[in-house]
C-alpha cells in the first residue's frame, strides 16, 4: 500500500487530468434544438408541449453535466424518452391532441412514469462506474495473486535471496 502511495506521489509524475469541462459546439446544438422546438411548436404543438415537459430531466442533465461527453444526459435521455414514448404515441394516435396533452400533464401517474424512467437512467449512470470499478478491482486482484503465487514458487525453489533479499552465499 505504501509503495502504491509512493508510486502515486512520485514528484514530476502528472496524473491524466480530465479535460476542462466544455461542450464543443454546445451552442450550435442548442440552437438546432431550439429551432427544432420552434418547428415542432409550429407544426405539432401538442407533441412539442409534451416533449418540453416530459424531457425536462434530460434537459436538466444535459445542462448540469459539464463533461466533455455529457454521458449523464446520454444515459437519462433514452430512458426518459422511453417513459414519454407511450404518451407521445397516445397523443399522436388521438384526435384532440391538446386536450390529451392537457389531461396527460395533469395526470400525476403520467409524471410519475416519465420521471421514474428518467430516474432509472440516473440510477444506471450512478451505479455503472462502481460496478465497473468493482470488476476492474477483482481483475487486478486476480492477476496480482497469480503473480504473487509465481514469486512464492520461485522463493520456495531458490530461497528469499532470489527476490534480491539478503544473499546468504
Amino acid at each position: 500500500m505504501e509503495k502504491r502511495q509512493a508510486i502515486s506521489q512520485q514528484p514530476g509524475q502528472t496524473r491524466t487530468q480530465r479535460p476542462p469541462p466544455h461542450k464543443g459546439g454546445g451552442g450550435f446544438w442548442l440552437f438546432l434544438l431550439g429551432l427544432g422546438f420552434i418547428g415542432l411548436a409550429v407544426f405539432a404543438m401538442p407533441t412539442c408541449v409534451l416533449v418540453l415537459f416530459g424531457m425536462v430531466p434530460s434537459i436538466v442533465a444535459y445542462v448540469v453535466d459539464r463533461g466533455r461527453r455529457p454521458m449523464l444526459a446520454f444515459t437519462i435521455g433514452p430512458l426518459n424518452l422511453a417513459g414519454l414514448m407511450p404518451y407521445l404515441l397516445e397523443v399522436w394516435t388521438g384526435q384532440a391532441q391538446m386536450q390529451i396533452v392537457a389531461r396527460l400533464l395533469t395526470d400525476v401517474y403520467v409524471w410519475l412514469v416519465i420521471y421514474l424512467s428518467a430516474g432509472a437512467g440516473w440510477l444506471v449512470f450512478m451505479a455503472m462506474p462502481k460496478i465497473v470499478a468493482f470488476v476492474l478491482e477483482r481483475s487486478v486482484d486476480g492477476r496480482k495473486a497469480k503473480l504473487k503465487a509465481q514469486q512464492g514458487k520461485l522463493r520456495e525453489d531458490w530461497g528469499s535471496e532470489v527476490g534480491g533479499g539478503e544473499d546468504p552465499i
Binding site: 496524473r15 444515459t75 422511453a82 414514448m85 462506474p129 465497473v132 503473480l147 520461485l154 531458490w158 535471496e161
Partner: protein
C-alpha cells in the same frame, strides 16, 4: 626412506620394524646410547645371531635426512651407519618414534660423557687406535661431500671387542653438532645455539677430530675447567690450540697434527690431504695462524678495551639494546676506519648502518636488527646473533623445527628471516662462495614463504621444507610420528575415530606437511584452506585429503568421511536450488558410507551441476524481477481504476440506457401498432 610397516606387539617385549628387526624395549644398551637416542637390543628375524642394535631417536629433534641417506649407502666401518630405519610404536613412551637399526660395535663406547676422565692414551695409541681407523671414514664422508659433526670423545665406539679400533658413533638422530661441547667446535660454531649450527664443512669435522685426539691425549675434556662462553673467550684470546691444550705438553709426533687441525682460520686448517700426508709419514710444519685484524689502539665498549672487530661485536651483543647509542654514534665508525684500518670490516659496518633508515616494526625490533647487522659486519664468520639467538643461516630451518617441536616460540627465528639477516650475513662474508647466490635466492624464497600466511605455507611449511625427514608436528597426530604421506590419512582416521577431532581435521601443520610432501598439490587447495568462508574451507580440506587418498590411499576412511560429511551443510548450501540441496542432503549419507573422500568431493562439488545451478538461479532472479515489475504496474493500474471506471461507467451506462430505452420505445411502438 623405507616404508614403515611397524607392528606393535604389546604382549611381546619388542616391536618389529619392517618385519625383520625386533627391537626389545626391555633390553636397553646404556653403553651405546647417545644423548639424543636410547639404545636397545635388536633381534634380526631373518638372520638370528647377527649383531644389531637400535637407536630410538628423540622425537623432538629432526633427524639428519641427507646424512642418513649417504651413510646408509656408504656403510663405512669407521662410522656407525644405519642399515634400516622407520617409525615404530614405542611402548615405553606410548607413542611412535623413529627407530634406526645399526650394526652393534663390539667394543662399546669409550666414555659415557665428555666430562668423564680416562687414562691418557699414548701418542702411538692415538694414532693406531683412533686416527688410523677413523680417518678413512672422514675421507669417505668428504668424498660424499657430507659431514659427521658429532666427533667427540663421548661419541667414540670400538668396533672390536678388544677396543683396538675406534669408530665414530651416531651423527644422524639429532641436528648437526647438536650435542657437541664448545671444546669440539670451532669458535664460530661454538657461538651458535646447538640447533642452529648448520651442516658445516669437513674443516669443522677435522677441528673436532683434532680436539678428540687431544682429549684422548690428555685424558679429559680439552680446555680444562673452562666451559661455554668462558672457553669461547679463551679460544678467541689465545687461539684454539693454546686454549684447548693449556699447559699440557704435546708430544712432538702429534704436535704438527694438532696444531694443523686446531687452527681457527678454516682456510688455513689442515684438510683431508694434509692429514693423509701426515699419516703417510710426511711431516709438515703448520702455517703460523694468521690472527684477526687488530687495531693499534683499543676502543672502549662497556668498560672493556677491545682491539678486534670480533671482540667489539661480542661486547655489543652482550650489551644488547644498550649498544644502540654506540652504533648510532660516530665513534665506532671512526675507530673502524682510522684505527682498525680493515676495509672489509669498515665497509660491512657502513652497509649495516646504511639500513638504519629501515624503520619497519617496533623500535625494539628495529634496534635488534641493526645490532644484528652490525655484529655480522664486525665478525662476519660468526653466526647471526639476534635478540639472544645465535644461529647460522644454514641452521635456521633446523633451529625452527627444534623450537616448534619442543613447544618453544619460533617468532624470533621468523623475525631473522623477515629482517633478511641471512642475506646480509652472506653479503658481508669475506669470501664469496659459489653456493652463495643459490642461498640468497633460497632465503628470499623462504622469506616469501614466511610472509604467506595461508595454511600449508608460512612458518610451518618452512620447517618441513628445511627438514625433509621431520615428522608431522600437528598436535593431533604428533605422537603417531607420521613422516610419510601414506601414513597421514590412517593416522588422521585414528585421531577422528578416537574422538580427538571435532571439526577441522587439517591444521596448519597437517597442511604444511602435506604440501611439502605432495609437490604436485594444487596451490588453490591451500588458498581454499585459508578462506574465511566455512564452505570453501571445508571443501579445501576435503580436496586436500581426497588428493592424498587418491595418491597414497587407503581406499576407505569411514570416520574421516563421516566427520567431513557431517559438516557438509555449508557446502551443500552453496547450491542455490532448494531442490538440489534437498537431493544432496538425502544422498549424502549413502556417499559418506563409502568412506571415499574422492567420491565425497565429487558429490559435493560437481562443477557441471554448480554451473547449471548458477545459470538457473540467474534466470530465476530475472523472472522474479519481471514479476515484481508486473506487480508494480498492476498497482499503478489500481490507482487509475476510479478514473477508468468513471469513464467506462459513463459509456456503459449510456449504452445500457440506449439499449433499454430502445427496447422500451420499440415495445411502445409495437403496442400502438406501429411495428
Amino acid at each position: 626412506m623405507a616404508k614403515p610397516v611397524a607392528t606393535a606387539e604389546r604382549k611381546s617385549t619388542g616391536v618389529r620394524l619392517h618385519d625383520r628387526f625386533e627391537i626389545l624395549h626391555d633390553a636397553p644398551l646404556d653403553e651405546l646410547r647417545s644423548p639424543t637416542a636410547q639404545a636397545y637390543e635388536v633381534k634380526d628375524l631373518r638372520a638370528p645371531g647377527t649383531g644389531f642394535f637400535a637407536l630410538i631417536a628423540d622425537p623432538t629433534l629432526p633427524p639428519r635426512a641427507q646424512e642418513l641417506g649417504v651413510l646408509r649407502m656408504m656403510r663405512h666401518e669407521a662410522i656407525l651407519t644405519p642399515v634400516d630405519f622407520g617409525p615404530v610404536y614405542w611402548a615405553p613412551d606410548d607413542r611412535r618414534c623413529l627407530a634406526l637399526i645399526c650394526e652393534r660395535p663390539a667394543g662399546g663406547r669409550l666414555v659415557a660423557g665428555n666430562d668423564q676422565a680416562i687414562t691418557p692414551w699414548s701418542d702411538e695409541e692415538i694414532i693406531r687406535r683412533f686416527i688410523q681407523p677413523v680417518f678413512p671414514g672422514l675421507k669417505a664422508l668428504a668424498t660424499e661431500n657430507t659431514t659427521h659433526r658429532a666427533i667427540r670423545a663421548s661419541n667414540i665406539l670400538f668396533r672390536d671387542a678388544s677396543r683396538r679400533h675406534a669408530m665414530l658413533g651416531d651423527c644422524f638422530t639429532a641436528p648437526t653438532a647438536y650435542d657437541q661441547p664448545v671444546a669440539y667446535e670451532t669458535i664460530e660454531n661454538a657461538m651458535a645455539m646447538p640447533a642452529g649450527r648448520g651442516v658445516g664443512t669437513v674443516a669443522d669435522d677435522l677441528y673436532a677430530f683434532g680436539a678428540t685426539a687431544l682429549h684422548l691425549l690428555i685424558g679429559r675434556s680439552p680446555g680444562g675447567d673452562l666451559k661455554g662462553e668462558a672457553l669461547i673467550a679463551e679460544k678467541i684470546r689465545r687461539g684454539s690450540y693454546a686454549a684447548l691444550c693449556g699447559d699440557q705438553r704435546i708430544p712432538t709426533i702429534l704436535f704438527e697434527l694438532l696444531r694443523g687441525l686446531l687452527v681457527d682460520e678454516p682456510t688455513e686448517r689442515w684438510g683431508i690431504r694434509e692429514v693423509d700426508l701426515w699419516l703417510q709419514g710426511r711431516r709438515m710444519t703448520p702455517k703460523s695462524p694468521s690472527s684477526l685484524p687488530r687495531a693499534s689502539r683499543a676502543i672502549q665498549v662497556n668498560g672493556e678495551a677491545l682491539y678486534t672487530g670480533r671482540g667489539v661485536a661480542r661486547a655489543l651483543v652482550r650489551m644488547g639494546e644498550q649498544s644502540i647509542h654506540i652504533l648510532r654514534g660516530h665513534m665506532l665508525q671512526v675507530w673502524l676506519q682510522r684505527t682498525l684500518g680493515h676495509k672489509p670490516t669498515s665497509d660491512g659496518f657502513a652497509l649495516a648502518i646504511a639500513d638504519i633508515d629501515d624503520t619497519q616494526g617496533p623500535a625494539a625490533i628495529h634496534d635488534a636488527r641493526l645490532l644484528s647487522r652490525a655484529a655480522m659486519a664486525l665478525d662476519p664468520s660468526a653466526p647471526i646473533r639476534y635478540r639472544g639467538l645465535s644461529v647460522f643461516p644454514e641452521g635456521l630451518g633446523c633451529a625452527l623445527a627444534v623450537t616448534i617441536a619442543q613447544h618453544g616460540d619460533p617468532r624470533l627465528l621468523a623475525e631473522i628471516l623477515l629482517a633478511r639477516l641471512p642475506q646480509f650475513w652472506i653479503r658481508v662474508q669475506p669470501m664469496q662462495k659459489i653456493e652463495h647466490p643459490v642461498l640468497l635466492r633460497e632465503f628470499d624464497r623462504l622469506r616469501r614463504l614466511l610472509e604467506d600466511t595461508r595454511p600449508g605455507l608460512g612458518i610451518e611449511r618452512l620447517v618441513y621444507d628445511a627438514n625433509p625427514l621431520l615428522h608431522c608436528l600437528s598436535p593431533l597426530i604428533e605422537r603417531d610420528y607420521v613422516d610419510q604421506l601414506n601414513d597421514l590419512l590412517p593416522s588422521l582416521e585414528r585421531a577422528v575415530a578416537g574422538g580427538k577431532v571435532e571439526s577441522m581435521v587439517i591444521d596448519r601443520h597437517v597442511a604444511a606437511f602435506a604440501a611439502n610432501r605432495a609437490k604436485q598439490l594444487d596451490d588453490q587447495v591451500l588458498t581454499a584452506l585459508g578462506e574465511p568462508d566455512p564452505a570453501t574451507r571445508l571443501l579445501g580440506q576435503i580436496y586436500l585429503l581426497a588428493f592424498i587418498q587418491a595418491q597414497w590411499g587407503p581406499d576407505s576412511l569411514p570416520a574421516l568421511t563421516q566427520l567431513l560429511g557431517k559438516q557438509a551443510k555449508p557446502v551443500i548450501e552453496r547450491y542455490r536450488s532448494r531442490i538440489t540441496r534437498a537431493r544432496l542432503d538425502s544422498q549424502l549419507a549413502t556417499v559418506v558410507a563409502d568412506g571415499s573422500l574422492t567420491r565425497l568431493v565429487h558429490f559435493l562439488d560437481d562443477l557441471a551441476e554448480r554451473q547449471a545451478d548458477a545459470q538457473h538461479y540467474a534466470r530465476a532472479r530475472q523472472h522474479y524481477s519481471r514479476i515484481e515489475t508486473a506487480i508494480e504496474k498492476l498497482e499503478v493500474e489500481r490507482e487509475q481504476i476510479l478514473e477508468t471506471a468513471t469513464d467506462m461507467g459513463g459509456l456503459i451506462a449510456a449504452a445500457v440506457s440506449a439499449m433499454v430505452g430502445g427496447i422500451a420505445i420499440a415495445m411502445s411502438l409495437y403496442h400502438f401498432g406501429y411495428l
